[in-house]
């Protein structure tokens, strides 16, 4: 036996190897299945994929591309957080510094273009799912999860929009927050809000409506910037990650990717 084969065989019998890999060499159906099932990252994926599942013309790979872009956004986002400070004093200058002074100045552009692309791929993914009828039972629950993920993708874009703290950012969020003021029963100018009052005292006013909750005040300011930063970097990605795991798991449980059932 050649010495490399010998070393390889020895390594595969050490305690370190056998403690990490719980199955035998995947050269039979049982161990091939175990290779996927016993891995926390792979187990979300089905053990076997249908032929149609890897046909580009059937899936467009849009769900996979969306997940890929989410990973890109996560990695570039974490890197950007090392330099960006969400305060009135520093936010704008830190964005300039990320482009002009910090090595790899293209990082923020990658994050930005990745965000734009992710919105597009989410839409195309949903269009594909709709056109192939993949929202039909038993996959209707996963379609619902997907719609929530669409909304969260939009919210990630919306909250990220404010962080450069330039004129475009401030006025875009001003416009968005004023739309929130038109929330039915929840915004100060929304339909039905006038009905919610005790005597002459309105229950929903400019000090507690949806716009106020979004801006952390009556006007856009430092509190808004901090709030959007936390939502953008922590709160929304946390929920999105949970729902992505659920989404992938349900793809497997509901009969696999994009094939007739």
């Amino acid at each position: 036996m050649n010495p490399f084969r010998k070393l390889w065989n020895y390594l595969r019998e050490t305690q370190i190897w056998t403690s990490i890999v719980r199955h035998k060499y995947p050269d039979n159906p049982r161990d091939k299945s175990l290779a996927v099932l016993t891995n926390v990252f792979l187990h979300l994926h089905p053990v076997k994929t249908r032929k149609s599942g890897v046909r580009m013309s059937f899936t467009w790979c849009m769900g996979g591309l969306t997940f890929f872009l989410f990973l890109i956004e996560t990695v570039t986002g974490i890197l950007l957080m090392f330099y960006y400070r969400p305060t009135l004093e520093f936010a704008y200058n830190d964005i300039i510094a990320l482009r002009e002074h910090v090595p790899l100045g293209i990082l923020r552009e990658i994050h930005r273009w990745g965000a734009h692309s992710m919105v597009i791929t989410v839409w195309l993914h949903m269009f594909r799912v709709f056109m192939t009828g993949s929202y039909k039972p038993p996959r209707e629950f996963n379609w619902g999860v997907g719609v929530i993920l669409l909304v969260l993708t939009m919210l990630l874009s919306f909250t990220g929009y404010l962080l450069p703290w330039d004129q475009l950012a401030i006025w875009a969020i001003t416009v968005g927050a004023n739309m929130a003021a038109a929330t039915p029963f929840g915004g100060v100018e929304g339909p039905g809000t006038m009905l919610l009052k005790i005597g002459d005292v309105p229950l929903v006013h400019s000090g507690n409506d949806a716009k106020f909750g979004l801006l952390a005040g009556r006007f856009i300011g430092g509190a808004t910037l901090l709030r959007f930063y936390v939502l953008h970097c922590i709160a929304i990605p946390f929920v999105v990650t949970l729902l992505i795991a659920l989404h992938f798991w349900r793809v497997r449980k509901d009969g696999g990717i994009s094939g007739p059932l």
């Binding site: 006025w171 001003t174 416009v175 739309m179 507690n208 106020f212 952390a216 005040g217 009556r218 509190a223």
Partner: protein
């Protein structure tokens, strides 16, 4: 033999009643915590500017639109033949700040193109109503006082006594 004796005297029925009580308590506590977290996101104290400010003597205002308090207080002080009034700089469409264009004698919003006359009356673009007017008065030292916590939305309220200074 009675099965309950084997389980410290707890029957299945008794266990299930406690089981439901436990779940109900858990749900109520979780709901309460959720409400508290929701309330947590609405601060009690805001570090925003006072809504009332002094704006100098009426005699310092010439006819037309005065922009000296636009940046600091978000107010245009306008004087015309009938008096002095305070206009909000917040576009009634979606909240941007219009620009005063002296050549065309109009306010023009850069976001979606709403246009307003010097009186604040909307005449073009998507704005649904005129610029809001703030309460305006003169204090004992003869200075104009503008109170932004009181405003009128519609043209029919423009002649209310608190919202125009006769000069």
């Amino acid at each position: 033999m009675n099965q309950s004796n084997e389980n410290n005297g707890v029957t299945r029925r008794e266990f299930l009643s406690w089981f439901w009580l436990g779940w109900i308590t858990f749900s109520v506590v979780l709901g309460g915590l959720g409400a508290l977290v929701g309330r947590f996101l609405f601060p009690n104290v805001l570090f925003e500017k006072p809504s009332k400010f002094r704006a100098g003597a009426p005699a310092t205002y010439a006819m037309g639109v005065d922009e000296r308090y636009k940046d600091t207080e978000s107010v245009w002080v306008v004087r015309n033949s009938s008096g002095i009034f305070a206009l909000s700089t917040v576009c009634t469409h979606l909240g941007c700040t219009p620009n005063w264009l002296p050549g065309e004698q109009k306010f023009k919003c850069p976001c979606h193109g709403s246009g307003y006359r010097a009186s604040g009356l909307h005449f073009e673009g998507p704005a649904p109503r005129p610029l809001e007017r703030f309460a305006i008065s003169v204090d004992e030292t003869g200075q104009i006082v503008i109170d932004k916590s009181k405003s009128v939305k519609f043209q029919t309220d423009w002649d209310k006594p608190d919202f125009k200074l006769k000069v």
